[in-house]
């Protein structure tokens, strides 16, 4: 039976994928065609969503962006045989944008029905967990260390060291916590992976639990991602029935079980200690470190905390060996990074490549520049706490150290593009405003500094005592950077200072005439 794939990913649905699926079903029934509609994840070519695919003898042929109105004409043009049409992009695995990527974490996303366990197994799923169950715990940790995997949430800490720390800690209970509180604007990889490839995350967590000696896992998912929460909960139920989560993981006699915890709308809970507080049901306020969560984490017990992408990379490392993963990458940044192209960009979406690709290649070659064709003025890399880089200096290799050297940070791999209409003083003000809204209030530099920052920037743009206020803003940034407890207050100065450094003219404009 012919198969048609229509993504179920939230982004695809947000531009009409559900309507297209319904229309296809009706139109096919009316034509008496017997076709199976599979709701896959998204390939990550978001500018083409809804992007539908038809299985043909020559592979899967893709069409997009498809609207409800296109369904009839597409069927008339021979959609079921991969027929030619203005929306046809040919065989999907030959689309250069996709074919040139090095997909590891996203290898399966968009290919299958994310909740089809047979497909997951057939494409190599659970091999990593099976292998891990035959290995001593310290060898699993050694494998992860040898792979060079670093925390993908933003900090880039070597994962293997964390694993070993938790493994060696003695306690009656240990935990694995997945931080899926992906709050950075410009990032959506965690969401797409949870919606489009949940089993890889579950398998990665099970491997982590086995290695670290943790029997309980929690996935802390932001409430803005209801589809991800539903998908994960269903996937966990399926995995339990299949026997690879629960009291006896794949018949090994070892226990590991998982549950999803829905967050409640607090950006700072993406910080690991604030997340732990929130998982304990309290205000999501940052804890001072030390003690580190690996030794005293959830409910004071040793806890392995990782981001979605870090844990999802683990099954492939265990299945194919650390060397294969380590072979990818650049300098001290090993493996692949899932970049997310967002904002005013012609071809936005997921680009997974080995570290070392330049910002220019990502933004111009993959992204195609701005969506509206206006000149590209600024790029923010690494979320709301990342630096604004000028559009004419994009030759920066994307890895942890090179970006740090350029005054930025990789963060969670989000890249937001702005055209020449952007007002960088307004962006700097927004960074402070966002920090004021989301600050947990635990430390003064962040709590007071952010509101003070908004006030000072307002005075600068209003032309009030501009030079003195610029000095004040710099001092404020210094205080926040050096004195804040966590990255929220500590890194908010980064977008502010980079805007000041690269776009000073925006802070020196004549004040707008105020209406009487």
């Amino acid at each position: 039976m012919t198969r048609i794939y229509v993504p179920r990913d939230s982004a695809a649905v947000s531009v009409g994928a559900d309507d297209v699926a319904r229309m296809l079903e009706e139109a096919l029934a009316a034509r008496g065609a017997s076709v199976e509609i599979v709701r896959n994840g998204s390939r990550g070519m978001l500018w083409l969503e809804p992007f539908i695919e038809v299985e043909t003898p020559n592979g899967r042929v893709g069409y997009g962006p498809v609207t409800v109105e296109d369904v009839g004409p597409l069927l008339d043009a021979g959609l079921l045989d991969g027929g030619a049409h203005a929306l046809c992009h040919g065989p999907v695995d030959q689309i250069p944008w996709l074919a040139s990527q090095q997909r590891v974490s996203f290898a399966r996303v968009g290919v299958h029905d994310p909740l089809d366990l047979d497909d997951y197994r057939a494409s190599g799923g659970l091999r990593g967990l099976q292998r891990a169950l035959t290995m001593p715990d310290d060898e699993i940790c050694a494998d992860v260390l040898a792979s060079g995997l670093r925390g993908r949430g933003g900090a880039g800490f070597p994962a293997g060291i964390k694993w070993r720390t938790v493994m060696e800690a003695e306690a009656d209970q240990k935990y694995v916590c997945c931080n899926a509180d992906e709050g950075d604007s410009g990032t959506f990889a965690d969401r797409m992976l949870m919606e489009g490839g949940p089993f890889a995350l579950l398998e990665g967590m099970a491997i982590a639990g086995i290695a670290a000696g943790a029997t309980k896992g929690l996935i802390y998912v932001r409430s803005e991602y209801p589809a991800a929460i539903r998908t994960l909960r269903t996937a966990i139920d399926i995995a339990r029935v299949d026997g690879w989560l629960g009291d006896d993981v794949l018949g090994s006699g070892r226990a590991f079980d998982l549950r999803v915890v829905e967050a409640a709308g607090s950006y700072v809970c993406g910080e690991e200690t604030a997340m732990l507080e929130s998982l304990e049901g309290k205000r999501g306020m940052v804890r001072p470190k030390p003690p580190i969560p690996a030794l005293q984490g959830l409910f004071g017990k040793p806890t392995l905390v990782h981001n979605v992408l870090t844990l999802s990379a683990v099954p492939a490392i265990l299945a194919d060996g650390a060397a294969a993963y380590q072979a990818l990458g650049f300098d001290r940044s090993r493996g692949t990074q899932v970049f997310q192209l967002a904002g005013n960009i012609a071809r936005g979406g997921i680009v997974e490549l080995a570290f070392g690709v330049t910002l220019r290649e990502l933004v111009l070659d993959y992204g195609g520049g701005t969506a509206n064709g206006r000149p590209l003025r600024a790029v923010q890399v690494g979320g709301p706490l990342g630096a604004y880089l000028p559009g004419d200096t994009l030759d920066i290799p994307m890895d942890y150290e090179a970006l740090a050297a350029a005054g930025g940070l990789l963060g969670h791999g989000g890249i937001v593009v702005f055209d020449d209409t952007v007002d960088m003083a307004a962006q700097a003000r927004f960074a402070m405003e966002f920090c004021a809204v989301e600050s947990c209030g635990k430390c003064t530099p962040c709590r007071i500094g952010s509101t003070r920052g908004v006030e000072v920037i307002d005075r600068i743009t209003a032309g009030i005592d501009r030079d003195r206020n610029l000095v004040l803003l710099e001092e404020l940034c210094e205080t926040m950077t050096d004195g804040s407890l966590c990255a929220m207050g500590g890194l908010t100065p980064l977008p502010v200072r980079s805007a000041l450094a690269h776009f000073p003219e925006d802070f020196h404009r004549a004040p707008e005439a105020t209406e009487p």
Binding site: A11, S14, G186, F188, R191, E224, P226, S266, L341, V416
Partner: protein
Amino acid sequence: MSAYAPGSAEAVRSVLSALPADERLILPALQRLQESFGYIPDGAVDAVADELNVSRAEVVGVLTYYHDLRQTPPPAVVVQVCVAEACQAQGVRELLRGIEGEYAVAVGKRTVAGDVEFDKVYCLGNCALGPAVMVNGHLVGRCDTRRLRTAIEAAR
């Protein structure tokens, strides 16, 4: 929906009795109450504190900390407009002006216009198809005033 008056000790107890042992914590308790009543009613604070054996201050602290938790019933339609950087780059300021023109409301924290509530949020994870808006939990991409109007009508 509970058979008891929202916020009464009986209603709170009845909702919290469904919580598994490892979720008998303040935040999950309040989330569960909000699922049942649509908001955290007056009086629930004392009952939660009593039920979980914690101080009222701790319950109020959690209740006022998280953006999602609300102390008033939600109107028929809740519209969350993403105002974060990626949506700014894709013209959310224009959308906000459009909303102001059409619904006579400056979108802020839970601003109400008739049976529609508009709320500013920071990132809905749809950053390549912005401006992104969520209407009663349904994500709308490439949102303009026309698409928003359609989504609000569908949600009513």
